[in-house]
Amino acid sequence: MTVRVQTEAFDAGALLSRFSAGRTGSGAVVSFTGIARDVTGGAAVATLELDAYPGFTEPAIEAMETEARARFEMQDVLIVHRHGPIQPGEAIVFVATAAEHRRAAFEAADYLMDRLKTEAPFWKKETGPDGERWIEPREPDYQDAKRWNRTS
């Protein structure tokens, strides 16, 4: 399993370089980087804080990885997710998928992000000039995640 839940900041490019190195058998590598924005829903965000439940959050994400591997012809996958306080511009989540052909790589990354965005056990608090607010998945996130039910 290649799921890492960590408080340390990471560089998505460095993760991609390491993930792609020596892949003579994979034609396609897709990566997704989720970045903390300075404005969400019209409100300024100074800090984002993700609460994780160590020992509970990782297995839930590993289960998503297992399902993605069963659904798509993937050769490899890497999921890195931060928790703790995160500043705007910093990466929150990185997903990379490697496959022989690009369709599987795209679909697996897209699928994993939809699952992560709605089901990953994180609790998210945005702190801005208007104070703090705990947030839940947006309706479009649920709609995105539902797309995968059609093909199952």
């Binding site: 609460d51 509970f56 997710h81 056990p121 609790w123 839940e136």
Partner: protein
């Protein structure tokens, strides 16, 4: 002894994230009652919509017997990643 964890906004409601309760309550409902007696606002939050309980990192439904050393976490609706 029972270890209790509060995640997300429950932590802000209670003002703590983790504590130990000794002696261990016999059931999950006994633990809820104990927490509610101490802090009515937390009790209300724990009974709120979508709040789940996990015993030893497995989500449970309904009441359940607790053993000494169990870790109980209360999980508000998850935000996702």
């Amino acid at each position: 002894m029972t270890k209790v964890l509060l995640l997300g906004r429950l932590r802000d409601v209670a003002g703590w994230r983790e504590r130990s309760i000794d002696p261990a309550p016999a059931t999950l409902s006994a633990l809820r009652d104990l927490l509610t007696r101490e802090d009515a606002a937390l009790g209300e939050a724990l009974a709120g919509r979508g709040v789940q309980a996990a015993v030893n990192k497995a989500v449970t439904r309904g009441d359940i017997a607790l053993n000494p050393g169990d870790e109980i976490a209360f999980l508000p609706p998850m935000s996702g990643g």
